[in-house]
């Protein structure tokens, strides 16, 4: 008995050491670059960190309370929720469609894949600048195309209407992030055994039924990951809103508000508190997706 315990402990030690050794670099990197700054940010959000004022007094929840009554902050929250809804919907539906096409394609698949991935390879700022030209009210492509097909008679200033502005910013963000969703879902689709579809066809199942009963349940984990990443990235939307419409309140996201509070008004603790709230909100929404998608698409 004692001998077998010793053997087991020795085995565990060796395995555990190897596992720890392999995990150590990522633990250190994540600890130093993510966990530690996060802990400092949480702690300092309870203090007043404003270089223009002397000292760093403890203020408790005052920063959080101030955020609850600030009209600009509340508007930026509303804008961000709208961004999340639009961007996640476009990315998920578009990404799923692209993944299904890529999964079925037999000719020119690699070129199609390269074309789908291209926007994801562009830096966010470059992406936003390209779309800034497209949306330009004087010489933009969008006005030109719509005028050419006769849908509009004269140039539109797209960002003059708040909802249009929010939609257009979300489209730019979704255009950049859609490839990631498509790739995650393509990987899930490729892991489904083809004999399941063959059996379903023999049983006379329609394409829609095959999609609903086989594809959707078997890509559920991939779908949950795709939804989570879309949500987190949409909550963190900054470059597109900033470059396309600056600090305009109609399209200001929470991250733009964080930037303005911290770096423009030099009220760092207020910015920290807001970024913590944004992180909590994105995690909560992601958790709801993961649990719901997982539950609804399981056979058991």
């Amino acid at each position: 008995m004692a001998q077998s315990f010793q053997k087991k402990r020795a085995f565990l030690n060796r395995e555990a050491r190897l596992g720890l050794g392999l995990s150590l670099p990522i633990i250190l990197i994540m600890g130093a670059l993510v966990i530690l700054p996060l802990i400092f940010t949480v702690i300092e959000s309870f203090y007043r960190v404003e270089p223009m004022k002397p000292g760093m007094p403890f203020v408790g929840l005052r920063n959080y309370a101030n955020l609850m009554v600030d009209d600009n902050v509340l508007t930026s929250w509303m804008n961000t929720f709208i961004y999340v809804v639009i961007a996640v919907a476009i990315e998920t539906l578009g990404g799923l469609g692209a993944a299904l096409v890529l999964n079925k394609a037999r000719v020119g698949r690699r070129w199609l894949l390269a074309a789908v991935i291209l926007p994801w390879c562009l830096p966010p700022v470059v992406n936003a600048i390209i779309w800034l030209w497209i949306y330009n009210p004087s010489y933009g492509l969008l006005n030109g195309l719509l005028k050419a097909v006769g849908l509009i008679a004269e140039n539109h200033v797209w960002f003059n209407d708040r909802m249009t502005g929010l939609f257009l910013v979300a489209v730019v963000h979704a255009w950049r992030m859609l490839p990631l969703t498509a790739i995650i879902l393509l990987a899930s689709l490729q892991s489904i055994p083809t004999n399941l579809y063959e059996a379903a066809r023999l049983d006379g199942a329609s394409s829609w039924k095959q999609f609903k009963m086989i594809t959707l349940p078997l890509i559920s984990s991939g779908l949950a990951i795709a939804l989570s990443q879309s949500t987190v990235f949409a909550f963190n939307l900054f470059d597109e809103a900033w470059i396309l419409n600056g600090s305009s309140i109609g399209t200001r996201s929470v991250m733009v508000q964080v930037y303005m509070s911290a770096f423009q008004n030099m009220k760092f603790s207020l910015g920290m508190a807001l970024s913590i709230l944004a992180m909590i909100a994105s995690l909560m929404v992601s958790a709801i997706y993961v649990l719901r998608v997982y539950k609804e698409t399981r056979f058991d």
């Binding site: 009209d71 600009n72 600056g246 309140i249 423009q264 030099m266």
Partner: protein
């Protein structure tokens, strides 16, 4: 024998490694952080090297980005560069954070007397920026457009400006004659400050209480003027997305007639045929005013040295070089940055090199600081509120009354 060679080689390598950092330090260029309109051409940096034996590592960043870089670096107790741009609007914030050195000792008494705008960069008795770019606002217009509309003189009042713009639109075929930025950016806010003065108003009283919420105030009339001109089709509807520098491009291409909040130094650029399509037609006039007596605002740029800068002596030498008569002339003639030294301005005018020199000097005499007692630390918060609400009013998302009330509220909150 082999061992001796090995030891000698190791000693040489070790010595080399020890010396290298010092030699590299000696030849290290001076890091300087400047905005795009001060992109020093090689011809100018060569002159700096010839005079000081030093070299420059110039980083060019947008105005907003420079500020962000300074704030992030200084929060980490690291200087973003040995010498940086110091905008007039940052003085209150950076001064109260004690991020910049007092440069009073760097300038000679004669030089201080020759630089009237140093008071704008003085915070708590410390000169934290040495002004090198004399930005004040002047009305710049296209005289060919006015001539086509049968107008012989530049407008002297805001009403005349509106009437002239309507005439130009009708008779000269200029679709949108008035150039004013209305995006949610600093350039839009400064144009509104200027128009507030043009309508005979001021932003705050001596106790820093807002003076722009009443309908008969200058600030209210200024915003109403901008919104109405936009509605009347005298301002391009796309202006709600345009920054001040984009308005300047419209003027250069002949698409607008009036650059209402024109940068004084830009006359040199507008009159340069290699950079402007309206070089022969660019002219300047005093900023219109309801009283008939022009008023304008000074928004100069300066150079500062962060407290944690690496090479302060070289930074001081760079600042002094930027104030040299020859450098200031080059800065104006090549880049359109108007000299801050009175003697250099007068010399340029005397030599016939100052575009519309007499008008510039006349307007320069009417410059008022936006905040007579120094730019307060809360200015950026106030200015962001101005830009945001002006933009929202121009888009029709809020009324002028609501926009101005929101700005006043933001000013009060920022002051707390």
């Amino acid at each position: 024998m082999k061992r001796r060679i090995l030891l000698s080689a190791a000693a040489v390598l070790g010595l080399g490694a020890a010396i290298l950092p010092f030699s590299a330090f000696a030849a290290e260029p001076l890091s300087v952080l400047l905005p795009p309109w001060v992109t020093l051409p090689k011809e100018m940096t060569d002159k700096f090297t010839a005079k000081t034996k030093g070299t420059l590592d110039v980083q060019t960043l947008g105005w907003d980005e420079i500020r962000t870089k300074i704030v992030t670096s200084m929060m980490a107790n690291t200087a973003p560069a040995s010498a940086t741009e110091m905008d007039w609007s940052w003085v209150g914030q950076f001064g109260s954070a004690n991020w910049y050195d007092d440069l009073s000792g760097v300038l000679s008494d004669d030089l201080k007397k020759d630089l009237p705008t140093t008071s704008i960069f003085t915070f708590d008795g410390k000169l934290i920026g040495v002004p090198y770019n004399n930005d004040f606002r002047i009305l710049i217009y296209n005289k060919a457009h006015l001539a086509k509309a049968g107008i012989s003189a530049a407008p002297k009042t805001p009403d005349e400006l509106l009437a002239d713009a309507k005439a130009v639109k009708e008779k000269a075929g200029v679709q949108y004659p008035i150039g004013l930025p209305l995006s949610a950016t600093e350039g839009s806010a400064t144009a509104w400050y200027l128009l507030t003065k043009a309508f005979g108003g001021d932003l705050f009283d001596k106790d820093m209480k807002p003076l722009f919420t009443e309908k008969d105030s200058g600030g209210y009339k200024a915003m109403a003027f901008e919104v109405q001109a936009l509605k009347d089709g005298l301002i391009d509807p796309a202006s709600t997305s345009l920054k001040d520098v984009e308005i300047q491009e419209l003027f250069k291409s002949g698409k607008i007639t009036f650059d209402v909040a024109g940068w004084a130094g830009n006359l040199a650029v507008y009159s340069d045929a290699t950079k402007s399509q309206v070089a022969a037609d660019a002219a300047a006039a005093l900023i219109p005013n309801v009283s008939g007596k022009s008023r304008t605002i000074g928004l100069p740029g300066a150079l500062g040295v962060p407290v944690s800068a690496k090479d302060k002596e070289a930074a001081h030498a760079f600042i002094n070089w930027m104030l040299d008569t020859e450098t200031m002339e080059d800065n104006y003639l090549k880049l359109g940055n108007l000299p801050t030294r009175l003697s250099v301005l007068q010399k340029l005018n005397k030599d016939g090199k100052l575009q519309q020199g007499d008008m510039l000097i006349a307007q320069a005499g009417l410059v008022e600081p936006l905040f007579p007692s120094g730019t307060p630390g809360w200015y950026p918060e106030f200015s962001a509120a101005v830009a945001t609400n002006l933009n929202a009013a121009a888009k029709g998302q809020v009324s002028i009354d609501d926009a101005l009330k929101a700005i006043a509220e933001a000013a009060k909150e920022a002051q707390q």
